[in-house]
Amino acid sequence: MSWLLALPIAIPFLTAVATFLTRDRPAGRWISILGSAILLFASIALMNAVLREGVVAGQMGGWAAPFGITLVADLLSAVMVLITAIVAVAVSIYALADVDKKMERLGYHALFNMLIAGVVGAFVTGDLFNLYVWFEVMLIASFGLLVLGGRPEQIDGGVKYVALNLVSTIMFLTGIGLLYGMTGTLNMADLASAVDDADQRLLTVVAVLFMIAFGVKAAVFPLFFWLPASYHTPAFAVSAVFAGLLTKVGVYALMRMFTLVFDHDTAFTHTILLWIAGFTMVVGVLGAAAQSDMRKILSFHIVSQIGYMILGLALLTPLAIVGAVFYLVHHIVVKANLFLIAGVTQRIAGGTELSKIGGLYKSAPFLAILFVIPAFSLAGFPPLSGFWAKLLLVKAALDAQGWIIAGIALAVGLLTIYSMTKIWAQAFWEPHPDGIEPKLSLLSNRDRAAFLLPIAGLALMTVIIGIMPEPFVRFAEASAAQLLDPTAYIAAVLGEQP
C-alpha cells in the first residue's frame, strides 16, 4: 500500500527535477502540467483506496512504527491531497499565460512543483519531525516563488514573510524537542496515547507552543501580519497557489494535532482557539474593508476565512468538525480561483487597484460571471458551496450554545458581501476611468484559453459542491468521525492494539 502514499510526494519531486533541467525550453511548462495531471491521477487512486479500505498507512523503509517514518492517509489527508492536485493542475495551466520566460528561466516550474511536494508531504506524513521537514520544503520553495522576479515590493514583502515564518519554524522545532523529551516518541499515532502519561500541565504549555507555531502558518489573529504584507506582491499564479494551499497546511496541522494529540485539556486549549477564531474572522474582514486593491482585499479575506475553520476546530463537536472540513475544501477552490481572476483583471484592465479599473461587466461579461460564482460563494450566498460551509458552522455554533460566536460568523459573512460588492461595483460595474474597454479578446487565443480554462473549471466545482452538497457533507461527516475517534488511524499506523 505504501507506494500509493509515496507516489503523490514522488511525482512532484520528479517533475521539479525535470522542469529544472528544461527551464530554458518551452517544454518545461508542459512537463509541469503533465506532472500535475499524473499527480491528480495518483491522488484519485489514493482517495479510492482510503474510501474502500479506511485509513491507509505505510512504513517507509520497512521500519515498523513508531520507529520508522510513517506515511498515513485518512479521509482528511486524502481529500487534501486531492484538492492540492486539482489546484496544481489549474495553476500550472494558468501559468502558461501568466508566467513569462524570464521567470521560467529562473526556475519557476521547479519551485512550484517543489512547493506542491512539500504541501502533499505535510498532508500524508504521520511523523511529527517529518512534518517539520515538509514544512521546510514548502517554506523554502515558497520563499523562492515569492521573490522570483525581484521587484522591490516583492523583496519588501518577502523579508516580512521570511522573518515571521522562520520564527514560527523555530517555535515548531522547540515544541517537537519538548514533546519528544516528555514522551520519547514523535509518531503522531503513538503520541496520541503516549501523552496520557506525561505531565498534563507541561503538555498544555507544549500544546500552546504548537498552537503558536501552526497559528503563524495558518495566519490567525494576532499572528497573520506576514500574509497581507506579502501575498499581493508575487506573480498571480504564485499568489493563487499560496492563497489556496499554504495557510491551509497550517489549518490542517492544527486540526490534526488538536484532535489527535492535544485533546487532554480542551477546556483550556480549545477555548483559546475559539477566541482566536472570533478575532481572526473580525479583524480579517475589517482589514479587507479598508483596502482598495483587489489582491489586498482578497488577502485579508484569507485571514477572515481561516477564522471559520478554526471555529469548527474550537467547538470540537461532530457537526463543527464536519463544517471545518467542508469549509477547508470549499475555501481552497474558491480562494485560488479569485486570485486567478484577479490576474486576468490585471492583464486586460491594466491593474488590480480598484480606483484605476472598471468596465469589466460590459466588455467581459463571461469573466464577470466567473467572478460572481467564487465571490458570492466566499460570502456564503445560496446555493453556492460557501453557503453550506457557513450553514454547517453556524448551526454547530448554535447547537453548542455559542450565540455570540454564531452572531460573529454571520456578521462577518455580511461584511464579506460588502467587500465582494465593492470589487464588483468598482471593477466590473463602473466604467473604466481611462475609457478603456477591457475585452477578453485583448488576449491572444492561447492566453485566453490558459486563463479561462482553470478559472471555469474551479468555478464549476464551486457550483457542483453548492448544488449537490449531500455527498460532500456525507464525506465530511465520515472524515470528522475519523478525526474525533482516531482509533482507526492509530490502528492503521501501529497495528491492532490489545
Binding site: P152, E153, D156, V159, V162, I176, G177, Q291
Partner: protein, 120 residues
C-alpha cells in the same frame, strides 16, 4: 549537566530575543541563528544526556548491549541544522537584496509593499 544546558539555552534565547527586537534586519537574522541553535540544543537535551556510552552495536548482535546513548536526537538535530543552514543562507541573501534595492534595513522604513497612504 542538564542544568548547565538549560542555562545555556536560556541565555541563548535571551540574547536572541534581544537581538530580534532591535530595529535592524541583520540583527534580527543573527537573533534567529542563535535561537535556532537554542532549539537544536533543546532537542539534544530532550533525548537525555548520557556519558561515555556510544550507541555501538557489537558485531553479530541486533542491539547495543547494556546502556547506550540515544542516537535519535542527534539525527534530528543534524537534520534541523542542515535545514536551518539553507534557510539562513537564503535569509541573508534576501536581506542583502533588501539593502541594495530598498536602501534600508530598518523594518519601520520598509513600507513599499504596504504604503501608508493606502488608507485613504
Amino acid at each position: 549537566m542538564e542544568v548547565l544546558f538549560a542555562i545555556t539555552i536560556g541565555v541563548l534565547v535571551a540574547c536572541s530575543v534581544y537581538l530580534m527586537l532591535s530595529n535592524h534586519l541583520l540583527r534580527f537574522i543573527f537573533g534567529l541563528v542563535l535561537i535556532s541553535n537554542a532549539a537544536n540544543l533543546t532537542i539534544f537535551v530532550a533525548g537525555r544526556l548520557t556519558d561515555g556510552a556510544p550507541p555501538l552495536i557489537p558485531e553479530g548482535a541486533d542491539a547495543p548491549i547494556g546502556f547506550a546513548a540515544n542516537a535519535l536526537p542527534q539525527a534530528l538535530v543534524l537534520t534541523a541544522i542542515v535545514i536551518g543552514f539553507g534557510l539562513f543562507a537564503f535569509a541573508i541573501v534576501l536581506v542583502f537584496r533588501a539593502w541594495t534595492t530598498l536602501h534600508s534595513l530598518t523594518p519601520d522604513e520598509m513600507r513599499l509593499a504596504e504604503p501608508e497612504e493606502a488608507h485613504k
